[in-house]
């Protein structure tokens, strides 16, 4: 069967890709996508370690991570749409005044 280390290596690769996306992209929606990928990497680890265990707590935690991610995306998209309306850009380098 599949070794646990394969899951961990896959999650590490996904985390690295998400990190690169979140750091590089100068578009707030793509930054959100990178954060989602990093959260998913954590989720893969939780599910991988929940295999064959007596308690199901790890899967409950991964469910919690998913719901937190959903809440985060809704709030962040509302903020991004407002920023786009106000400044006409979603580039975080160009939004450099804190005045409303």
């Amino acid at each position: 069967m599949i070794d646990i280390q394969f899951y961990l290596i896959l999650a590490a690769a996904l985390f690295s890709i998400g990190l690169a996306i979140a750091v590089t992209k100068k578009n707030l929606i793509m930054v959100l996508v990178g954060i989602e990928l990093m959260l998913n990497a954590a989720n893969i680890n939780f599910v991988a370690f929940s295999q064959g265990q007596d308690s199901i707590d790890a899967q409950v935690f991964s469910l919690a991570i998913m719901i937190v991610a959903a809440a985060e995306v809704t709030i962040a998209l509302a903020i991004i749409l407002k920023l786009n309306e106000k400044y006409g850009t979603v580039n975080p380098d160009k939004i450099d005044e804190l005045r409303y």
């Binding site: 290596i9 690769a13 890709i17 750091v23 929606i29 990928l37 899967q59 991610a69």
Partner: protein, 169 residues
């Protein structure tokens, strides 16, 4: 035979995750990047199924592909209507080479850590286990606080995003 099938499906899903994730990084069009994100998310759901977490797989598919991805697509559709500057559709990369190097260093460090550690216990999926019943019982008895606090968090997110997105002066 069954083992070979499981291993090959794991390889298929892993390759799909890595390749589509790299495409999200290198894509110049934000719509194509989000389509590649859909491939990543569906493949992650397949990985969950291989790990024996059926309820997590189905709810991942529902929440991410059916909820978050559609929300992101609606975000670029509603934000990209301004005639003057379509900045929301433009992807700009800053320090791409450096971030790839940093990500590679992080990945190598994690790989070294994973290769060097020994895990106690055998983590093999129990394929004929009903996780739906287990998770439901757990959420209603032992982990009730998690369920309640997540409900409050979702309510906060609902009210907050509605307030933020509404037009008020």
């Amino acid at each position: 035979m069954g083992e070979f099938l499981i291993l090959s499906f794991f390889g298929l899903f892993s390759a799909s995750i890595i390749i589509a994730g790299a495409y999200v990084f290198f894509a110049k069009n934000i719509l194509y990047a989000l389509y590649a994100l859909m491939a990543v998310l569906v493949s992650i759901s397949g990985i969950y199924i291989l790990a024996g977490a059926d309820f997590i797989a189905v709810s991942h598919l529902m929440i991410y592909v059916g909820g978050i991805l559609i929300l992101l697509l609606f975000g670029i559709m509603m934000g990209g209507t301004k005639k003057v500057r379509n900045d929301i559709l433009r992807i700009e990369n800053v320090n791409a080479l450096w971030s790839v190097i940093v990500a590679f260093v992080v990945f190598s460090a994690l790989l070294w850590l994973i290769k060097g550690s020994v895990f106690a216990g055998d983590f093999q999926p129990e394929l004929n286990q009903n996780t739906v019943k287990l998770i439901g019982l757990n959420l209603m008895t032992r982990n009730l606080l998690i369920l309640e606090s997540l409900g409050i968090l979702l309510l906060l997110a609902l009210i907050g995003s509605t307030y933020l997105a509404s037009k008020h002066d």
